[in-house]
């Protein structure tokens, strides 16, 4: 081969290599449900937040491992335990071309506090925001808030001018009977712009060529189509009508893996499914025991923990796709340590002995409240638990009902024994400690503590964790707190549910453990 030809060949190859990453792609995906609104402050529902997150951005965002990273805020410093200073990114523009400045942050805060805005939980720690200059703000918190960044990682910034122009300075109130311009239009700073939207049919987005960040994706146009029926969603993926489907039912995993056109993307969700007891009543509400509540006795709770074979549930019911957990803390949370994941050994004989010691040699009967449409295979898990507890003489009646009924019943603490899944939106251990395990108080502490578990020592530690700014000290406290919960057998932790998505072979994307899909991670060849 002559030298000239070699050079020519190399040149051609080089051009090809250079051309390939810039290849434009059209991407279509389907999920189970539809975003309720495009208003970033109207709701905190996860499907809605996921779709909106492609168009709007927070000051601080999460990466694919749920770690916090700068987004619209370039950097920040903690001036004092209740004062944070944020430097805003310069040169950021909204989709309509207006520059992003401190005024927009202030207007967004005001908007998030209007009556119809459910997102106000995200700014509950913030007392006030002061503008220093166009690209510097100072945030005052009500009390020391070590997790401020986590709390605002889903707090999306809107343009003050756009909201004012379109009469959308407050969030639409469902009671007033009027919708708001922002429920169907979007103007964020994010990697994608809204092209058109027909709710429940399709939402079309196109790449924002003026995005401040360097795009990792190669999507030029993306279409979201909700397909509620799982079988239809899988059919659409198999036939190539869509590039990506979420979620995938566990029973379909193996069939999809066998298909050479399909790639299964799989991990576990940052959420723990567990069983809880009624710790409060003096008499078992739903069961055979009278004048006594067996769950007040730690021996009974330990016996239950030792009788439930979590590994069998994971392998048989969840098809091996879930991961057994020993507590409510997940590995993405700060303060997690491997010893918090150890479960008491499975030992039905010892469990039976403990029950006899506690005064129930013949066991007792109790009703297990269970949702049947909230978590993957939720009812099947409850039925399996009932069979396992049957081996130590406890007769469990499974009462499985729809989630819309279930949460009304259990949240009013009308239960003796229940199944719940918990994932913290803040990805911080303080959330389960306060909300799921803290003593219920009228201000929202222990709101999801359906069994009214109350441990003053734990409450004290939780309060310290809330305010402790020093990370090392805080992590040690978290570890100690969860140890306390484990040693008290306060709950029966089960597993992290499977997170299963599927794409066509030519698609690469990141799977976040909080179930959120982000278009900015998609590469389609």
């Amino acid at each position: 081969m002559s030298r000239a030809r070699t050079v020519a060949c190399l040149l051609v190859l080089a051009t090809l290599a250079l051309a390939s990453p810039a290849q434009a792609a059209e991407f279509k995906w389907a999920g189970q449900g539809e975003a309720q609104s495009l208003d970033p402050h109207a709701t905190t529902e996860f499907q809605t937040m996921a779709l909106i997150g492609n168009m709007y951005e927070p000051l601080v965002r999460r990466d694919k491992d749920l770690k916090l990273e700068p987004a619209l805020a370039e950097s920040w410093e903690v001036v004092s335990p209740t004062l944070w200073r944020f430097k805003l990114r310069k040169g950021v523009a909204f989709h309509d071309g207006a520059p992003f400045t401190a005024d927009d942050v202030l207007a967004t805060l005001e908007r998030t506090r209007t009556p119809g805005a459910d997102a106000k939980t995200k700014v509950q720690s913030i007392a006030d925001i002061k503008k220093i200059d166009d690209h510097t703000i100072e945030v005052t918190t009500r009390r020391p808030t070590p997790i401020l960044l986590s709390e605002i990682s889903d707090w999306f910034m809107m343009s003050k001018a756009w909201c004012a122009k379109n009469d959308a300075m407050s969030v639409a109130d469902v009671r007033k009977g009027a919708e708001n311009y922002a429920t169907r239009n979007a103007n964020g700073t994010g990697p994608f712009k809204l092209v058109s939207r027909e709710p429940d049919v399709r939402t079309v987005l196109e790449a924002n060529s003026k995005w401040w960040d360097k795009p990792q994706h190669n999507v030029t146009r993306a279409t979201y189509m909700p397909i509620s029926n799982s079988a239809t969603r899988m059919a659409a993926l198999l036939s190539g009508e869509i590039d990506f489907a979420q979620p995938v039912p566990t029973q379909d995993i193996n069939r999809l893996k066998a298909d050479s056109n399909i790639k299964v993307v799989q991990s576990t969700e940052a959420r723990v499914i567990f069983l809880g007891f009624d710790h409060k009543r003096d008499e078992l509400l739903y069961g055979s025991v009278k004048d006594k509540n067996p769950f007040k006795d730690a021996r009974v709770r330990k016996a239950f923990n030792q009788a439930v074979d979590v590994n069998a549930i994971v392998s048989k019911i969840m098809d091996g796709a879930a991961a057994a957990r020993g507590s409510l803390i997940v590995r993405q949370m700060k303060g997690f340590a491997a010893d918090l994941d150890q479960r008491p050994p499975l030992d039905p004989a010892a469990a039976k002995k403990l029950l006899a010691e506690a005064g129930y040699p013949d066991g007792f009967s109790v009703t297990l409240d269970c949702p049947n449409d909230r978590y993957v295979n939720d009812e099947a898990v409850c039925v399996a638990v009932a069979a396992m507890l049957g081996r130590i003489g406890v007769k469990v009646n499974v009462a499985a009902i729809s989630k819309t009924k279930y949460f009304g019943k259990t949240l009013s603490r009308d239960t003796s024994f229940f199944l719940l899944g918990w994932g913290a939106n803040t990805v911080d251990a303080h959330n389960p400690l306060a909300i799921v395990l803290g003593t219920p108080t009228p201000d929202g502490n222990g709101q999801w503590n359906m069994g009214a578990y109350s441990n003053p020592k734990l409450d004290e530690m939780t309060a310290q964790i809330r305010d402790e700014i020093d990370e090392t000290k805080r992590n040690a406290l978290i570890h100690k707190a969860f140890k306390l919960v484990i040693d008290d057998y306060a709950i029966i932790p089960l597993f992290e549910p499977a997170l299963v998505w599927a794409t066509r072979k030519n698609v690469k994307l990141d799977q976040r453990a909080d179930e959120r899909f982000e278009l900015r991670s998609v590469v389609k060849n």
């Binding site: 939980t121 469902v174 009977g177 429920t183 709710p199 819309t404 949460f407």
Partner: protein, 328 residues
């Protein structure tokens, strides 16, 4: 006649109101939409506020009275799930459901009559046997199964037709139609077959049995004896005399096609009223559920009212009897 009409109308309104009341009482069992709406981080105070804003803290009868009062003024309320007016949502979805229902009704009538006639003319031919087998399948297989089966064959394996959705639609005024684009027409095929299959078998069996009767009558024998071609005998002379009951059944079935398209719409993610309703149930979106149930009951009551009046028109003896009863 006017008196009969007014009396029937009053009865119909009463029926609609009773249906609405029963539906409203059932909402006690649908569950609480507030948890769905606010998410897990909301405080009890926020939940109580929302419950109060929505009026959910008031007794059922008060909620019902308010709903009916608003409904009478044409205000169906705002969807809890989407924060948009229910009337607007239903108006957006209505074209999809109506088009699907009409096309599947048409499919059922055309093929039902054709197959029914064929099966009656030559009852022992292999083709008739095939038609009878199809009709057995149509009556015994549930629609969601038929739908999934069609999707697997025609969308996944053969790749000819889309597995979900409505394709491209064209907006004509307030009406969105899928009948004017190729992808819209292709998207209609599988859902129409799924929805219409049961009606098809019904019509086919009806036509067949009626035809078998008519074909035995003397005037058909005379027609044959006159040497008229077979298609003219079958379709012009015989079929005509079987059509009255078929028209009645078809008319009545159209109402149920519209009302019961829920399953087909769910399987094919067809953006019609049925899908809207089923999603509302999962969310306890009471304004949508209530409006849908009320509209469907009005549809049925309306069809029944029309039928009643038609009977009086067709058979004046009925009218005499009711008038006589009223004047007594």
């Amino acid at each position: 006649m006017v008196g009969v009409f007014l009396r029937r109308l009053a009865q119909s309104i009463l029926v609609v109101l009773i249906v609405a009341l029963i539906a409203f009482c059932l909402f006690q069992f649908v569950g609480d939409p507030v948890h769905n709406m606010l998410g897990q981080d909301a405080t009890p105070q926020q939940q109580a506020e929302l419950r109060q804003r929505l009026g959910l803290d008031q007794p059922t009868i008060v909620q019902f009275a308010r709903f009916i009062a608003n409904f009478a003024q044409g205000d169906l309320g705002l969807s809890y799930r989407m924060g948009r007016p229910v009337s607007q949502l239903i108006a957006e979805r209505l074209p999809a459901t109506i088009e699907l229902s009409l096309v599947s009704g048409l499919f059922a009538v055309v093929f039902g009559i054709w197959m029914g006639v064929a099966a009656a003319v030559a009852p022992d031919s292999p083709l008739s046997r095939l038609y009878m087998t199809i009709s057995l399948v149509g009556t015994s297989l549930p629609p969601f199964f038929v739908g999934i089966l069609l999707i697997i064959v025609f969308a996944v394996t053969l790749g000819w037709l889309p597995s979900f959705g409505r394709g491209e639609v064209v907006q004509i005024g307030f009406w969105s139609t899928g009948l004017l684009t190729l992808s819209g027409l292709k998207a209609l095929i599988l859902p129409s077959i799924t929805l219409g299959l049961f009606q098809l078998t019904l019509i086919m069996r009806l036509v067949r049995s009626q035809m078998l009767e008519v074909l035995r009558s003397d005037y058909i024998k005379f027609a044959r004896a006159r040497g008229l071609p077979e298609p003219i005998v079958n379709y012009r002379h015989a079929l005509k005399n079987t059509l009255v009951p078929i028209i009645t059944i078809t008319g009545l079935q159209l109402g149920s096609i519209i009302a019961f398209s829920i399953i087909t719409e769910t399987v094919f993610q067809w953006p019609g009223m049925g899908l809207l309703f089923i999603q509302a149930v999962g969310f306890a979106d009471i304004p949508i559920i209530a409006s849908y149930l009320l509209l469907v009951s009005m549809l049925f009551v309306g069809i029944n009212l029309a039928c009643d009046l038609l009977y009086h028109y067709v058979d004046p003896r009925l009218l005499d009897r009711t008038v006589a009863a009223a004047s007594r």
